[in-house]
Symmetry: none
Subunit: 142 residues, 4 copies
Amino acid sequence: MAEISLAKARTMIRKTLEAGRAQEMKPLAVAVLDAGGHVIAFERSDGAPPGRFELARAKAYGAVMLGMGGTAQRDRAEAQAYFMIAANGIYGGQLAPVPGGILVRDKRGRVVGAVGVTGDTSENDLAVGIAGIEAAGFAAEG
Amino acid sequence: MAEISLAKARTMIRKTLEAGRAQEMKPLAVAVLDAGGHVIAFERSDGAPPGRFELARAKAYGAVMLGMGGTAQRDRAEAQAYFMIAANGIYGGQLAPVPGGILVRDKRGRVVGAVGVTGDTSENDLAVGIAGIEAAGFAAEG
Amino acid sequence: MAEISLAKARTMIRKTLEAGRAQEMKPLAVAVLDAGGHVIAFERSDGAPPGRFELARAKAYGAVMLGMGGTAQRDRAEAQAYFMIAANGIYGGQLAPVPGGILVRDKRGRVVGAVGVTGDTSENDLAVGIAGIEAAGFAAEG
Amino acid sequence: MAEISLAKARTMIRKTLEAGRAQEMKPLAVAVLDAGGHVIAFERSDGAPPGRFELARAKAYGAVMLGMGGTAQRDRAEAQAYFMIAANGIYGGQLAPVPGGILVRDKRGRVVGAVGVTGDTSENDLAVGIAGIEAAGFAAEG
């Protein structure tokens, strides 16, 4: 499997933060997780609220654990709220079923990790996270 | 950053409790947290139920962690309940998304902490908490 | 039972902090709990580390829950470490078996709560905590 | 207070990782936390075990919460094991009382955060962490 190296994770984070600044979004935080849901790298922009790590990781963690991007999780939550509440319990309260949790796939389509972006609207978080993932040469599923 | 000193925290608590008594509200409890969500000071009025610390802290803690006052949290919870349920899991079950959790900003607009007030209706809790924050020379965002 | 009123709790905290400053101790934090182990009041001095609430409360909470001051808890821990480790599990990890957790008794000898002091050496924490409790007209058992 | 900006946190991490590579240490992971114990940035080197984030954060978190570097925590743990076991419960099981958790102080001596380094021996982790902190213009207390 083509894993996400630290160098690639850095690229994802930098390009995501750059895209956010270019669009004058609020200060963002970005987490990059591996295929086991473990943190490779994280950065919180100056001026963001203190607890952004937990939220960014949860967005990415839920994507890896459920094999679903945040948009699909949100749709499921809106259709069947009790399922996502139950899933949240199953995964230790560490899910955030909204856009901004993004699966990262390699060229063969396999999931190699996930990115979690938080700080602006969920849709904006998603858009810049996709830009960051693609800038590092991977495919994004939000 | 202008931090909240213990002297300022005492002023916030006293003025909040005084405002509550002046308006014949139920016995209040007030927590003051710093910009990292850690308790600076807390007081529970005689006659209040025993577990008020946890509730007052949760109101303030959620404000700091999410960078949103309790009113904005409540609005988000009403629009998208599953998000606030998920956020509660992410932050260790320590959120209380109702009015009475109030961000404290310094003169430059930066968040320096939060106040949590509980005991009467959420709207009344909010009103006296704002009075306490302003009496100490800070700006309140409920 | 003569409960600890908020006014009495304030006196305990102020007198404890004053005694610490008079003896040039490090910045202290003081929690006052009721007979059920619930927080009545807490203050953290400027310059103390952020997580002092948890430590001060644990000192007082263990005293109330076990009916033993911190000195007796420490002696038990040194004689039988596994017992205090087990007790810590039983009470949710919220004990701190060292001096500075002090039972508060009324004139009839009944436990009405506890004070937890932290910031300097355990022995110094204990000494000023006793001073604060006695200044409020109660008896202290450290 | 001179906060640790994201730019400064990046410098600390890069210089720590560079120092580890220069000395042919095992793959390192480095977390930088703010004065409230919240994550600013984290990086895990390629080849490090997956759960390094939790360990690096715990080293830094304990330093901030207790106001003690990892070396002082280890000394306390060796002198009074039950105290550090209790402290671990009080702070949610999130302490790692060994060298490699390092307080970061500004020019005025105030704690502005902490760095946690893990991957090689505790003493080596500490040495390169200090190098990283000093390269960013802060003082280190290990």
